[in-house]
């Protein structure tokens, strides 16, 4: 024990001697861990949040596919679907996209349906008349609607329509509502010029969730051009969107592993003459091969543990206290409207362990293993200076 403490002491002196190199490694290492951890924290938080809040999605969404594309669905499909055993309610949903040439942004225009007029995360009210709208924080900010309380959009007949802003969603809900423009269903139909009797899709409520799949099959049989999307598929989407196979994770992990490999390679090949001499001296004055390897082990632990913990701390603070401001600029891509992430902190301990094994263990190995060869040779060469 005391031996290890002393060797740690010497390892620290030894590292301090190579200050610039060690600081460079520390910075590179910390940044690698911080990037990795930020991505993991962010995606995990998004995933956890999604599984919680998407509990409220419709049991079943029924789209119509025409010519391989999503098409408007006849509302009278709803009548027949309602007759299927187990279905308690079918509501048409009216929504579409609106490209705003003024701000070069895409909004999602949605019918509010029969939602309660007052909602907790909404300042104001949902639209009650055809001339009102409720907008997400992003739209409000982009269009200055929070000052003017008005929003002008150009409808499908190329006529500007003026809406009174009756409500603005609070920023806490931005992840869901940032780009929304909510109108009444009638207003959406009129605005987009939907054919009468058509909706964007149908939201189906099923009494017993075990029967969802059966209901979906029945709908498909009844309407061959329909495409039912089950709640399970909806909620699983976000599990999958941020999984290990997704592009972002792949890219980041590859980059991180590459960075570490370069570092390891540098260490493995670069045991300098100076280091060799030092090992020789230590052996000549009575250190065992084991003692030299212990020294290198602790050098590796010191560098990798401090970098690992620092990186972890940085990324945690970055993601959960600074709303992932660095990562979100990367995530943003071409999005004009991009929500601020106010994430509920949730961390998967397994992720921390995974990162530990992916970064700390290889680093220590790459510190100890190259020393091996030098450490087992006879120290005679130091006699020759």
């Amino acid at each position: 024990m005391i031996k290890h403490l002393k060797i740690i002491e010497y390892a620290l002196s030894s590292l301090l001697r190579r200050k610039t190199k060690i600081i460079a490694i520390f910075i590179a290492y910390t940044l690698t861990v911080a990037t990795l951890a930020s991505v993991l924290f962010l995606t995990h938080a998004l995933k956890t949040e999604a599984t919680h809040i998407l509990q409220g999605v419709p049991d079943l969404i029924v789209q119509r596919i025409l010519g391989g594309r999503h098409d408007l669905i006849p509302v009278d499909y709803a009548e027949k679907i309602k007759d299927i055993f187990g279905v308690s309610e079918v509501k048409p949903r009216y929504w579409g996209y609106y490209y705003d040439a003024l701000t070069e942004a895409n909004y999602t225009v949605m019918g509010a349906g029969d939602a309660a007029l007052e909602l907790k995360l909404l300042d104001g009210k949902l639209p009650a008349t055809e001339f009102e709208c409720a907008v997400g924080k992003g739209v409000a900010a982009l269009r200055g609607a929070d000052y003017s309380n008005e929003l002008i959009l150009v409808n499908s007949r190329n006529i500007g329509v003026l809406f009174d802003v009756s409500g603005i969603f609070q920023s806490d809900s931005s992840l869901l509502t940032n780009d929304l423009v909510l109108l009444t269903n009638e207003a959406v139909i009129d605005f987009f010029g939907f054919e009468p009797g058509r909706a964007t899709d149908l939201a189906v409520t099923v009494q017993n969730s075990n029967e969802l799949q059966t209901v979906a099959v029945k709908i498909k049989k009844l309407f061959p051009d329909a495409r039912p999307i089950t709640k399970r598929e909806l909620t699983r989407t976000y599990d999958m969107v941020f999984n290990w196979r997704s592009g972002m994770m792949l890219t980041v992990f590859c980059a991180a592993i590459m960075a570490l490999c370069i570092m390891a390679w540098d260490k493995a090949t670069g045991i300098s003459a100076e280091e060799k001499l030092e090992i020789g001296i230590l052996k000549a004055i009575g250190w065992d091969t084991d003692d030299v390897l212990i020294l290198k082990f602790w050098e590796g632990v010191i560098v990798s543990m401090t970098s690992f913990l620092t990186g972890l701390l940085l990324s945690y603070v970055h993601v959960f206290y600074f709303d992932a401001f660095v990562l979100s600029t990367i995530l943003k891509g071409w999005s004009v409207l991009f929500p601020a992430f106010q994430l509920t902190p949730s961390v998967n301990v397994l992720h921390i362990f995974t990162m530990f094994f992916l970064t700390v263990v290889p680093y220590i190995a790459s510190t100890v293993i190259p020393t091996w060869k030098t450490a087992v040779t006879d120290p005679e060469s130091v006699m020759r200076g």
């Binding site: 020789g280 250190w287 091969t289 006879d378 120290p379 130091v382 006699m383």
Partner: protein, 229 residues
């Protein structure tokens, strides 16, 4: 029986290769406990090679190295380290100190792998540093010391394990006359304390000194003659 006993020792470098070189050929020698022995000979005659074999820093190609009655030539590496640590203190030609580390830390270095507390280690080191008159510089980095001071640090490091044998390779090569004399004075004290001393040198100032009990002259990896004073 002699403390160090060498029988039929040879050392061949790069065995089986084009640059194969016989550094020592069939050398036999004995050094008694408490003796001051000097290896002389021109550069390349095999002094350093012989010293490293005596000091368990390398293995012979052939022959026996018997230290205190035990043949160490074929001991496994772990035991070799133990013998080196227990019995030998080395003073290298280039000093071989860790330059960016303090004097005290350099001197304590041989004790690090032992189960000995830091304060106990310092208690051991301080009298030695005082005896060698460098205790006032114990916190300085070695690279900031003069050549003579550096050598005294190297001596202190060689003494910290209380070795029975001091091995010094060309110890005066980097010293002027005055410092060389100081070095010999220190050796004299150590010898009076009972330490066996083996020095390799081609400096007449050293091998002509009255301290020396035995001179071994070497040439081309062989012993030419042994003079006992």
């Amino acid at each position: 029986m002699a403390y160090i006993e060498i029988e039929g020792l040879s050392k061949v470098y790069n065995v089986g290769r084009a640059d194969e070189l016989t550094a020592l050929a069939d050398v036999s020698l004995s050094i008694d406990s408490g003796e001051v022995a000097v290896l002389t000979g021109s550069s390349g005659s095999g002094k350093t090679s012989l010293l490293s074999l005596i000091g368990c820093m390398a293995r012979p190609t052939q022959g026996k190295v018997i230290i205190a009655g035990k043949d160490v030539a074929k001991l496994p590496e772990r035991f070799l380290t133990a013998v080196r640590r227990k019995r030998f203190g080395f003073i290298f030609q280039q000093f071989n100190l860790i330059r960016d580390v303090s004097v005290l830390e350099n001197v304590l270095l041989p004790l690090y792998p032992l189960d000995l507390g830091m304060s106990a280690m310092k208690d051991k080191a301080m009298p030695i540093l005082e005896k060698l008159k460098i205790s006032h510089k114990k916190n300085l980095k070695v690279k900031n010391l003069s050549g003579g001071e550096q050598q005294r640090v190297a001596i202190a490091r060689a003494l910290i394990n209380e070795p029975e044998v001091i091995i010094a390779d060309e110890p005066t090569a980097h010293l002027d006359r005055r410092l060389a004399q100081e070095f010999l004075d220190i050796l004299e004290v150590l010898n009076h304390e009972g330490k066996t001393i083996v020095i390799a040198t081609h400096d007449p100032f050293v091998y002509d000194n009255r301290l020396v009990g035995k001179t071994v002259s070497m040439r081309d990896g062989r012993i030419e003659g042994v003079t006992i004073h």
